[in-house]
C-alpha cells in the first residue's frame, strides 16, 4: 500500500515538474520573442520612416533636430521624441526623390556594387584554389602555410593598415577603387571558410576519381567545386555582408568622395533630410537583407565553420 502511494506521489511530482517545465518554456518563449522583435525594431523604424511624409517626419523628429539649440535648462521643458509607427499619410516621395533626382546617390550606390562585386569575384578566384590545395594536397609546407593563414585571418585592420598603405602607395593605387579591392581579395578568411568545406570531403571519393584517370585539375573541377559549394557559398555570403559594410578601408584609402561607397555616404545625409536618409538606408539594407534571406543556411554554416580548429 505504502509502495503504491509512494509511486503515485512520485508520478504526481513528475507531472507537476512537467507542467512547470511547460510554463517555463512558454514564458521564455514569450520573453525571447519580445527580445528578438526589439532587436529588429531599428529596421522597422527605418521602414516606417522612409514612407512618412516630410511634414509629419519633421514634426516627429523635431526634438532630435532642434536638440542643439536647447540649453540644459530648456531641454527639460521639452518632450522626448514620439514615433507613429504607421504614418498618417504614407508616401513614396523620398524614394522617388532619391532614385530620380539625386545623381550622387546613384554614383555611390554603383560604387558599392562595383566594390562588392570585384571583391567577391576576386576572392573566389584566389581563395577557392588555395583552399583546395590546403585541404587536399599533401605537401611539406602545408601546415606552416595553414597556420600563417589562420594568424593573418585573425589580424584586425589596425595591424595591416600601414602595410597596405605602403604597397598601395608604391603601386600608385591610392585613391582608386583598387586600393580597397586588392587587400580584400587577398584576405585569408575566405580561404579558411572554403577549406573547411573541402576538408570534409571523403578522401576515398577523390582517390576513386584519380584511379578513374582524372587529373588534379579534373578532380578539383568535377568533384571539389560541386561538392564544396556550400563552403564556397558561406564565404560568398559572409564576404558580401562584410564588403557591403566597409568603413575603415575606404575611409583610409579613398580621399575622393566620388569614389565612396554607400556605407560612408549614408551618414553624410544629415537629419534635416531625414526622409532621404531613411529611404537611402532602406535601399542600402535591401541587398544585404536579400543575401541574408537567401543565404541564411550558408551564413550559419559559415559562422560555424569559422570555428578555429587547426
Amino acid at each position: 500500500m505504502a509502495a503504491v502511494r509512494r509511486e503515485r506521489k512520485a508520478l504526481m511530482k513528475k507531472k507537476v515538474m512537467k507542467g512547470k517545465r511547460k510554463i517555463s518554456v512558454v514564458l521564455s518563449g514569450f520573453f525571447l520573442t519580445v527580445l528578438a522583435l526589439l532587436f529588429c525594431s531599428p529596421v522597422l523604424l527605418l521602414l516606417s520612416g522612409s514612407v512618412t511624409g516630410p511634414y509629419e517626419l519633421r514634426q516627429m523628429l523635431r526634438p532630435v533636430l532642434e536638440d542643439e539649440r536647447y540649453t540644459a535648462a530648456e531641454v527639460r521643458e521639452r518632450d522626448t521624441i514620439l514615433w507613429e509607427p504607421v504614418p498618417r499619410y504614407p508616401t513614396g516621395e523620398h524614394y522617388q526623390k532619391l532614385l530620380f533626382f539625386t545623381p550622387q546617390f546613384f554614383t555611390v550606390f554603383w560604387n558599392s556594387v562595383k566594390l562588392t562585386g570585384l571583391i567577391i569575384g576576386g576572392q573566389m578566384l584566389i581563395a577557392v584554389p588555395a583552399a583546395w590545395a590546403l585541404a587536399v594536397c599533401r605537401f611539406r609546407l602545408r601546415k606552416i602555410l595553414f597556420t600563417l593563414y589562420v594568424i593573418l585571418m585573425l589580424m584586425p585592420f589596425q595591424v595591416t593598415m600601414l602595410s597596405q598603405y605602403l604597397v598601395l602607395n608604391g603601386l600608385s593605387l591610392m585613391n582608386t577603387h583598387w586600393a580597397v579591392v586588392f587587400p580584400a581579395v587577398f584576405s585569408t578568411f575566405p580561404v579558411f571558410l572554403i577549406y573547411r568545406g573541402f576538408a570534409s570531403l571523403p578522401e576515398e571519393l577523390l582517390e576513386a576519381a584519380r584511379v578513374d584517370g582524372a587529373g588534379e585539375l579534373g578532380v578539383f573541377w568535377h568533384i571539389g567545386l560541386p561538392l564544396g559549394m556550400p563552403g564556397i557559398l558561406s564565404a560568398v555570403v559572409l564576404g558580401f555582408l562584410e564588403s557591403w559594410n566597409l568603413i575603415e578601408q575606404p575611409l583610409a584609402f579613398l580621399e575622393n568622395r566620388q569614389l565612396w561607397p554607400l556605407s560612408l555616404y549614408l551618414p553624410e545625409i544629415g537629419p534635416d533630410q531625414a526622409g532621404a536618409a531613411f529611404a537611402a538606408s532602406v535601399i542600402t539594407l535591401i541587398p544585404s537583407g536579400l543575401v541574408f534571406w537567401l543565404g541564411q543556411d550558408y551564413l550559419e554554416q559559415g559562422i560555424i565553420s569559422s570555428a578555429i580548429k587547426g
Partner: protein, 300 residues
C-alpha cells in the same frame, strides 16, 4: 598516415603550387612583405630612416592618446565579451528547447546584415537628449513609487542625458556591439548544444538529474570547444565596433570611446607613419601572443 595526392608524384611542378600560387603571391605582396617593411620602419626614424632602436616604441607607449585608446579598447573587450558570451549562451539554451527555433534565430541574426551606416540616424534618435531612451526612462520613473525614484536618482524631473557626450557613450557602444554580434554567438552556441549527443542528456535525465543539473554538469562541460571559438571570434569582432563609434561620433568622439582605430586614422591623416608602424607591431605582437596562449589552453 595519409597518402600523397595522386599516389605518384606528377612530373614537374606539383599541383598544389598552381593552386596556391595566386594566393601566396597576393598575400606576400599585400600583407607579408609590407609588414616586414613596417617592422623595419618601427625601428627607424621617419626622416632619413636611420636605425633608432626602441625610440619609436617609447614614444608610442608614452603617448597620451595611445594609452587612452589601449585602455578603452581593453575595457571595452573586458566588458563586452562576458556579456556577449553569457547572454548568447542563455538565449541559445532557451532557444534549443523550443520546437521551431529557426524564426527566432533569424531575428537575432538579422542585425548582422544591417550595415552600420543605416542605423546611425536611429542611434541619434534613441540616445539623444530627447531620444527614445530618455522618454522610456521618464515614463518608467513616473510610475515608480517616490522612494524608489529618489533612490535611483530620478528625483530631478525628466531625464535628459546626452548619452553620446558623457561617459555613458561607452555603454551605448557596448549595446550596439552586443546588438550586432549576439546572433552569431547564439548560432555557435546552438551548434555546440546540438552537437551534444541526446543519449548523454537522456541518460542524465533518467538518472534523475533536473534541468539545471543537466545544464551545469552535462551540457556546459561539453561546450568548451565552442567557448574557445566564440571568444576568439568575438574578440576580433570587437575591433570592428569602431564603425559604429566613428559613424555616430566622428573622428574625435567622447574620450571613453576613443578606440585604437580612431588613433590610427588620426595618425594616418597626419602621416605619422613611424608611430603607426610601432603601434601596429606592438598590436600584432600582443595579438599573436594572445592567439598562441588561447591555442595552448584550448581543450583536445
Amino acid at each position: 598516415m595519409r597518402k600523397k595526392a595522386g599516389g605518384k608524384k606528377p612530373a614537374g611542378v606539383p599541383a598544389w603550387v598552381w593552386f596556391m600560387a595566386p594566393s601566396i603571391l597576393g598575400t606576400a605582396c599585400f600583407i607579408l612583405l609590407p609588414f616586414g617593411d613596417v617592422i623595419r620602419r618601427s625601428f627607424c626614424s621617419v626622416l632619413g630612416g636611420q636605425f633608432t632602436g626602441l625610440s619609436n616604441f617609447r614614444t608610442v607607449t608614452g603617448n597620451q592618446a595611445f594609452r587612452l585608446a589601449v585602455k578603452n579598447t581593453v575595457c571595452f573587450t573586458a566588458v563586452c565579451l562576458p556579456i556577449l558570451i553569457g547572454s548568447g549562451l542563455l538565449i541559445a539554451v532557451k532557444l534549443s528547447r523550443l520546437k521551431h527555433p529557426r524564426l527566432m534565430k533569424t531575428l537575432f541574426l538579422f542585425p548582422m546584415a544591417v550595415p552600420a551606416a543605416t542605423v546611425v540616424l536611429i542611434w541619434h534618435m534613441t540616445f539623444g537628449r530627447l531620444g527614445f531612451l530618455n522618454g522610456l526612462l521618464d515614463s518608467l520613473a513616473g510610475r515608480l513609487p517616490g522612494a524608489v525614484q529618489a533612490a535611483l536618482g530620478f528625483s530631478g524631473g525628466p531625464v535628459r542625458i546626452a548619452y553620446m557626450d558623457t561617459e555613458l557613450s561607452f555603454w551605448v557602444l557596448v549595446f550596439s556591439y552586443v546588438w550586432k554580434n549576439l546572433g552569431y554567438t547564439i548560432v555557435l552556441w546552438m551548434a555546440g548544444i546540438m552537437g551534444i549527443p541526446a543519449a548523454i542528456t537522456e541518460a542524465a535525465r533518467i538518472d534523475g538529474a533536473g534541468e539545471r543539473q543537466i545544464f551545469w554538469h552535462v551540457v556546459l562541460p561539453n561546450l568548451k570547444g565552442s567557448l574557445y571559438t566564440i571568444t576568439v571570434l568575438s574578440l576580433l569582432n570587437s575591433f570592428k565596433v569602431f564603425r559604429e563609434a566613428y559613424l555616430v561620433s566622428g573622428a574625435y568622439p567622447q574620450e571613453n570611446i576613443y578606440l585604437m582605430q580612431h588613433l590610427f586614422n588620426n595618425w594616418f591623416v597626419n602621416m605619422e607613419l613611424d608611430k603607426m608602424a610601432a603601434a601596429a607591431v606592438l598590436l600584432a605582437a600582443v595579438l599573436l601572443v594572445l592567439i598562441m596562449a588561447v591555442q595552448k589552453v584550448r581543450p583536445e
